[in-house]
Amino acid sequence: MDEKYAIDLEHVVRIYKRDEFEVRALDDVTIQIPAGRFVAIMGPSGSGKTTMLNLIAGIDHATTGRVAVGGEEITGMKERDLASWRARHIGLVFQFYNLIPVLTAFENVELPLLLTRLSKAERRSHVETALRVVNLADRMDHYPRQLSGGQEQRVAIARAIVADPTIIVADEPTGDLDAKSAEEILGLLVDLNRQFHKTIVMVTHDPRAERYVDTVYRLDKGLLVGTEPGRRGAPAEAAATSA
């Protein structure tokens, strides 16, 4: 596996068995994404976008093929090790934010830090920094239900970056938002990518997203059917290869 790729999928197949049916959610997909890229995965519903994201994030296992993230092969890892690997390397953003409703914005963002050795004071300063990045420092003590959808998603992004992960993985982060909030979230992701050099993989249905990303991967029925540069004006060599 090549060290220079942040994400390296080789001949990945993911088959789900439901009763006697088999669904090939991903069918022999090979993708290499260099570090520091902001890429989008697009495709119709059921094409395997979430499945691919879950494999990259180490919350699902490939049926066959190899998955390496940040130069580390995660294909054969045990669940316990994988959990702590996720905590160190992956920042997750979901379509429905997935904030814990009984915890405040601050406490939600603090969650990933509870898995580190940071002291209480260090955690506090990291959380405050992350919330400042998403421009919500003043909403620290609010519960998710007291925030708008866009604000909730910003809290979720703060939670995704607070532990300084290698890769941010976002599944339709704007899917549940109005146009203005969606633009804000996309802008925020671009900033994270530019300023903090985070590799970002985003699943989206949103055609606007193409303007923000370096590369668009198109999936259909589990197959990788296309790789196109985004309209962000990425340099030519940035386009990832497809096997």
């Binding site: 919350i59 699902d60 316990r80 959990a83 996720r86 905590a87 997750l92 979901f94 509870l114 898995l115």
Partner: protein, 387 residues
């Protein structure tokens, strides 16, 4: 570091109704447990407080209680001057012949109980050194006067200083109140043994003898002598030994209470289990999220177990508080061995409180175990897809 406890506490508070109902069930079980244990503790201490280690109780051979014992005056005369028995300064021997009989008395508020009327001589107050007259005076011989145990006050009609009691064939004037430091004599009426013999019309006999050992005397030797001397031929026991046997009732109560508590606990455990299963299923996405963020399967299991534990301990504390008002409450209790009524106080001891909390904790852990395991075993991807 684990999933923070505030996550569990607040989640419990959010599900107010189901939390309250589950807690109510556990609290009820714990309250019943505390009440039964307080009753047993009170009963045990009433029984234990009654005896003195240097007192012997002498009964007919084979008799297990005073009420089924009886012997003749010549047997009494033969034992009376044995050297191991303590003497008062004036030469009087600390031997108390006694004849406890049963009398039915009317409870205030309806119903009748068997009360022990103990025929004694004035020397009884010296032998039973825990017994004191705390109001009025000791009865005078042959006057149909009685002193009554303070444990009976307020529970029975006409049972107060200066009133007239009707039982047996006669009328008895209450001239004093006796206390015995919590012991079972406080549930008795004491009268002149000759008056009791006359009233019973069963001739001159004694049921039992209480005697006090002289300082340093060999009690075991005296017990052997009582049994082996053909003129005496009686069975002696120290009072603590005697009452230990009597405490069998308390032990049975305890066993019964435990059985009831365990059966109720099974119900409460199912309640807790149901609540926790509901919690796990309602929070599937949260579980998936926590796991995706990197919390280990074990952390999720501990978190839900802890939640169940928090719930059950809080419920246990409520149950203890519900039961607390009975602490010190005086009550009467039919003694199945002697068929008489014993008055005593419920005693909620520190040990009982700790046991009750442990009991609640066990209910929480047992009830929470399977749901917590289910939360742990849930595949992350499926948990996240459950939206």
């Amino acid at each position: 570091m684990a999933i923070p406890l505030k996550y569990n506490v607040r989640s419990l508070l959010v599900r107010r109704v189901s939390t309250a109902m589950t807690a109510g069930g556990i609290a009820l079980v714990v309250a019943v447990f505390v009440i039964v244990m307080a009753l047993v503790a009170g009963l045990n201490s009433a029984i234990a407080d009654t005896g003195s280690p240097d007192n012997l109780i002498v009964l007919r051979k084979g008799a297990t209680t005073e009420t089924v014992s009886g012997f003749q005056l010549d047997q009494f005369d033969a034992l009376k001057f044995l050297p191991q028995i303590r003497r008062e300064a004036d030469g009087e021997v600390d031997v108390s012949p006694e004849l406890p009989v049963q009398a039915l008395m009317d409870r205030i508020g309806g119903g009748r109980d068997n009360i022990v009327v103990r025929g004694v001589l004035p020397i009884a107050l010296k032998v039973h050194d825990k017994v004191h007259i705390i109001a009025g005076r000791m009865f005078a011989p042959s006057m149909n006067e009685v002193v009554v145990g303070k444990g009976l006050l307020g529970h029975y009609k006409d049972l107060s200083l200066g009133s007239m009691l009707h039982f047996g064939r006669g009328k008895w004037k209450v001239v004093g109140i006796l206390s015995s430091g919590g012991g079972s004599y406080e549930s008795e009426v004491w009268a002149d043994i000759h008056n009791v013999q006359d009233d019973a019309q069963r001739g001159k006999y004694y049921a039992a003898v209480r005697l006090k050992l002289a300082p340093g005397a060999d009690g075991a030797a005296l017990i052997r002598r009582l049994a082996d001397d053909p003129r005496i031929n009686l069975q002696g026991q120290t009072e603590p030994d005697y009452y230990r046997d009597q405490a069998v009732v308390a032990n049975q109560m305890r066993a019964l209470g435990m059985i009831v508590a365990v059966i109720m606990a099974v119900g409460a455990i199912f309640g807790a289990m149901n609540t926790m299963y509901a919690a796990v299923s309602a929070r599937t996405t949260e579980i998936g999220t926590l796991r995706a963020l990197g919390f280990a399967p074990g952390a999720v299991m501990s978190s839900f177990l802890l939640e169940s534990l928090v719930l059950s301990l809080a419920a246990g504390a409520i149950g203890i508080m519900l039961a607390m008002p009975i602490n010190g409450l005086s009550t009467t209790f039919g003694n199945f061995v002697s068929f008489s009524t014993l008055a005593f106080n419920f005693r909620v001891t520190f040990t009982i409180v700790i046991e009750a909390l442990l009991f609640a904790a066990v209910m929480g852990v047992v009830g929470g175990w399977l749901p917590a395991r289910q939360a742990m075993k849930m595949p992350v991807v499926d948990a996240l897809r459950s939206l």
